[in-house]
Amino acid sequence: MTPDVGPAIRTEDLRKTYKSSRGDVAAVRGIDLSVDSGQFFGLLGPNGAGKSTTIGMLTTLVLPTGGRAWVAGKDVVADPVGVKRRIGVVTQNNTLDMQLTVAENLEFRSRFFGLGLREASRRATQLLEVFGLADRRKAMSTDLSGGQAKRLLIARALVHRPDVLFLDEPTAGLDPQTRVNLWDILRVLHGEGQTILLTTHYMEEAEALCEQVAVIDHGEVLASGTVNELKDSTGAETVITVRYEEAVPEGVTARAGLADRAGVSKVETDGDYIRVFTREPEGVLGELVTVGSAAGLTVRDATQLKPSLETVFLTLTGREYRE
């Protein structure tokens, strides 16, 4: 039944439906995940994809309405306290205790996990040193900058050496410099063997950090694997999109024989744009302009996306990935 050893995180058909007077909303519709110990796992998807709900269920603060999940071998529904003992959570919001100082935030968290006074204070000092917050130890937590608050949240999640570290959109709303800084911290933690599950809606964040990625949208996993596997399986193609000022008349792409070009796997026309998925992007953009002008269309803008998680998302959902 309950796997006591094995993956750090496992879910089976995990579901969450929110009931409301305006009808039910299925936020997560049957997710299967398996994250090995020591892995850096990324849950990638646009806002509203169900990432936070999933992380909420794994951290016991959201009750699943279907399926099962185990974290560090403990069932999140049957043994939430057992799970909470073994995880560290960096919430998306700033959930620092606003009534306490920086050091007290760490000390009391340590004491919640059973540490004695002296031990808690020693651990707080150590964490503040390592995370570069030692000079702010007496400041109220409300006085920290966004980046400092995030570092303190991470430090606080590590007081008790969690088996799994969860980070929900850790860099959302941070400036680029601070984001890179946090990435460095996470890389070091992972390098030391920390199992990490991170959610993000930044493609480049998942590419930069995660060994394994699950792309989710509308509460379902669309694809999972390493970043390279994902690119190879679905998106090793360049996606070229040209938008015109006018609607694209039917038959334009067929007459131009776009689909017959070498390397082209798919040609989409919808409304005012033509989109070509190809392994040989050379010259395609120019041709789309020519095809358009032959049909009396004026180009408004054009994009060419090299194979990336973004083209993976586009290929899987047919929708552009918007942040």
Binding site: Y18, G56, T59, T60, L61, V62, L63, P80, V81, K84, R85, I87, V89, T91, N93, N94, T95, L96, D97, M98, Q99, L100, E104, F108, R109, S110, R111, F112, F113, G114, L115, E119, R123, Q126, L127, E129, V130, F131, G132, L133, G147, Q148, R151, L158, V159, H160, R161, V180, N181, D184, I185, V188, L189, G191, E192, G193, Q194
Partner: protein, 311 residues
């Protein structure tokens, strides 16, 4: 893509707060083995409340003391000084059937009433206000919700902490309402049973903080002002704070209607132990209501709290 900038500074200086691998290795290797137990975590949470209370003590208790202080000042000092026409207490006292009706002054009625009113205010301020903050905006409640205890333990801890704050508040107000009065207008306070007095205070404190928890979990944060108009004000004005319950027999329907107000039992319970010379509600009724109310509000509050935390 290259950028031409000044010589690259060392990584540590460039990114303050980025730990080195060896530092993190030490951090993980030296991490203490957590050994949380229900009691340890509960105590740590209480310690956190006391730390916060101590930090805000002056503001918290100044805010709490002003209302009862001004009340006794105006009614037990100013009014008796400016003339007998304002002697409000005599009528109520006489109609309450007190044996020594002639000697009962308004101060005597106010002592238990203002203490009860203080308890209610403290219960709400200590539990409801922080809770509404914790549930709104950043949902800082998640910080404590991730502590390794069941969510209902967190609810019970909030009730306990709120009750302690109420109790302290009442202890601060007691000497004030006792000592602030005009010459010859001292309240007739006579405590015969200190144990019972303490018991009433403890249960009244628990009642207000459990009510505070329930209100904090069902209140819409955007409608907090309504709390004063709809709950606090009627509970106080119709809570036998300024008149004994027995005196309400002139308005029989009101005497019955106010029985739904938990405040009545707090005022009357304190009246029974502090100023027994004044007519008061029977002790069994008071204790039943205080204990029963605490149980009911705690149960409902813990349920709504758990539902708000886990969604």
């Amino acid at each position: 893509m290259t950028t031409t900038t000044k010589k690259a500074p060392p990584a540590a200086a460039e990114h303050p707060g980025v730990p080195s691998a060896s530092e993190v290795a030490a951090l993980i290797a030296e991490a203490p083995e957590p050994s949380p137990t229900l009691i340890k975590t509960f105590n740590a949470m209480m310690a956190r409340e006391f730390r916060v209370l101590r930090r805000n003590a002056i503001a918290t208790f100044t805010r709490a003391v002003m209302q009862p202080l001004l009340f006794v000042f105006v009614f037990a000092y100013v009014f008796p000084k400016i003339g007998g026409g304002f002697n409000l207490g005599a009528g109520a006292a006489a109609s309450s059937g007190a044996r020594a009706a002639g000697t009962i002054n308004f101060a005597t009625i106010l002592v238990p009433g203002l203490m009860a009113s203080m308890l209610l205010m403290q219960g709400i301020m200590a539990v409801t206000f922080p809770l509404v903050m914790e549930f709104s905006w950043q949902r800082t409640i998640e910080d404590r919700a991730l502590a390794p205890v069941p969510i209902k333990v967190l609810a019970i801890q909030k009730i306990t902490a709120g009750a302690v704050q109420s109790f302290i508040g009442a202890c601060i107000v007691f000497p004030i309402v006792l000592l602030v009065h005009a010459a010859g207008q001292a309240p007739h306070v006579h405590v015969t049973n200190w144990g019972l007095f303490a018991l009433i205070l403890v249960f009244a404190s628990l009642l207000t903080s459990s009510l505070g928890l329930l209100l904090g979990t069902i209140m819409d944060p955007r409608k907090m002002q309504m709390l004063f108009a709809v709950i606090l004000l009627p509970a106080t004005m119709l809570g036998c704070v300024y008149y004994p319950w027995s005196a309400l027999h002139h308005i029989r329907w009101l005497q019955i209607v106010v029985l739904i107000n938990p405040m009545v039992y707090m005022s009357e319970g304190l009246r029974a132990v502090l100023t027994p010379s004044l007519g008061h509600m029977p002790m069994w009724g008071v204790l039943l209501a205080l204990v029963g109310g605490t149980v009911v509000f705690s149960y409902l509050g813990t349920r709504t709290f758990t539902r708000r935390v886990l969604n």
